[in-house]
Amino acid sequence: MNLFPRFYGARLLGLRRFILIVLSVTAGTASIAFAIIAAYDFHKAILTTAAGSRAHVVVYLPTVRVEDAVEARARILKVAGVAQCEPALRLEGNFQIEVPSRDGGLEFADVMSSEVVGYEFTSSKRKDLPVAFDQVYSKLNRKSSAEMQPLDIMCNPQAGDEGRTIISDTLASRIFRRPRASGNNFDVVLPRTADGTGGQATFHARTAGAYLGNALRASSERRYATYVRLDELQKALGLEGKVNCLDVRLIDPGDARAMVTRIAGLVPEAVKVVSWMEPEADSLGFLSLLNFGVLFAVAIVGCTAAFSLCAILFMVVADKLKEIAVVSALGATPRLIQTMFVLIGARIGLLGAALGVGGGIALSWALSSRQAELMSNFYNRMDDSIEIPWLYVSGAGFGMTLLCCLAALLPCFWSLRSDPTRMLTKE
């Protein structure tokens, strides 16, 4: 191995220039790496948050006895990426109760229900709420299982501790006749404010289905939850021992669309398999658009970094034409000189890309640790940890290194073509 390229390559630029160029590569790589991580991690976080505690894929069976759903369940559980698959009773739909607050107290305004439930109720009196629940409940009970429709309950009070208690107790005792039952179906998610007392926020209650046993766990620290067991729900709905669907939870909720196709292949054709993403198609579409925008920005940052890097290296090499002429007069072959510039580019690229990837990761960590602070009012706070898409991030680092080698090599080709004798006589 000829030592010349390494020996001279390490000294040609001078330390100050070298550091400056490495820093510019670092900055470019860091912003690209950061944007990639942010786009990926936020996308994931948004998807996970949006998917929430609901089933990611629902397999709608005819209302059957639990035992009859066991075989299908076993088959679905074997699919890679499936975390859970539980027989459930699913009552989905649009039943909305909005409960605004005035003067710190609770007042009940609207209780609306969709046509599916066939119930409409409007009152502004607190004592009317239990009545409303009773009526909804009896309506539900009267429906035949074949007509059973999805049900959502959303409440928007300005919740204080009092509001929380009333609503959760009311929901639990009126609908399911059992306060804070254990087991997993009906959870009430309350926000936590900075001082931990609640306050102005959103109160969510959602029945997404009834899981058997231990499907979900809610964090008591961040959420306020109340549960009902499947058998309670079955009893309440007059469907003892029966389920009407399989609730599937996936390891990656973002996979849901692809998984629908796989799972649909495992069950009879008539059975409807639905991904959680379908009702959310609009918001998810916006999310993809946003993501595309971020990637577009990454591309622009990448191009900017690439061009300025090429410009810098071009100028640096142009500044070294005389030195190139001197070493070629001393007998350095074009190949040795090219090797030297590739080495210079590789040295800059590797160091800059490594620092840049590290910097990008550090930046995203810094941001995600601020996340908790920024989102203290958010009812469902995201996970503080970040997930790094190593493939893309290291791809960006590798690309940057390659770019540095090329950017150093190109002006070298150009300089080797110019006449060395002219440069040698220059002062």
């Binding site: 000829n2 010349f4 001197v326 190949r335 060395p420």
Partner: protein, 238 residues
Amino acid sequence: MSDTIVRCTGIGKRFTTVSESGKESNLTILDGIDFSLKKGDFTAIVGSSGCGKSTLLNIIGMLDRQSEGVLEIDGTTIGPESRNAEELCRMRNQKIGFVFQSHNLLPEMTAVQNIMIPLLIRGDGKKSAQARAEELMAELFTKEEMDSGVCKRPPAKLSGGQCQRVSVARALSCRPALILADEPTGNLDEKSSARVFDMLREVQLRHSLSIIMVTHDQSLVRKVDRAVHLAGGRLTEV
């Protein structure tokens, strides 16, 4: 084995220039140069400015290519069409040492590192290259200079004469048979000029080198073995 190190036969060099009116014209700088240099000879080339001395030297040094004629360096023939760049580079590295008017030392490197460059290009190891460079420094610099740390200084921190001596050392590093010096003393005052020349003469005699030196300095011309005069594209003995 021939005792001729350089043989030029009918070497010509033409430049095509484009005048302001857009006309192309051929400018003949060298016109059928026949010249040979014996091993161990110190020859000076003189001539007025712009007569083509540097051009001739660059052709002999294979930095430039002749338009016509044949050049023979130490038994290897190089015609106008010779295109084997790798081979020419290797010959330049191992058979020829250059000393330029402006020293052309690499500014980012110390004196010793500058001398190491041709050796590293040849493929030597770092240790042996450094040993050789230090040996040459010791040969061309006084003890006081060495003690003041000239070896470790970059060219910017050396005097003009010291730089030129480092560049002589660099030219000698690969033990070439031929030294081509283009006005090596052109930028120096009388005293350092004499010193650099004496040193060139000394190493030339000691290592029986062949040297072609371009110079305008008549006092130096008197001290060499042979002087040739370039005018009108032709060489005449002085």
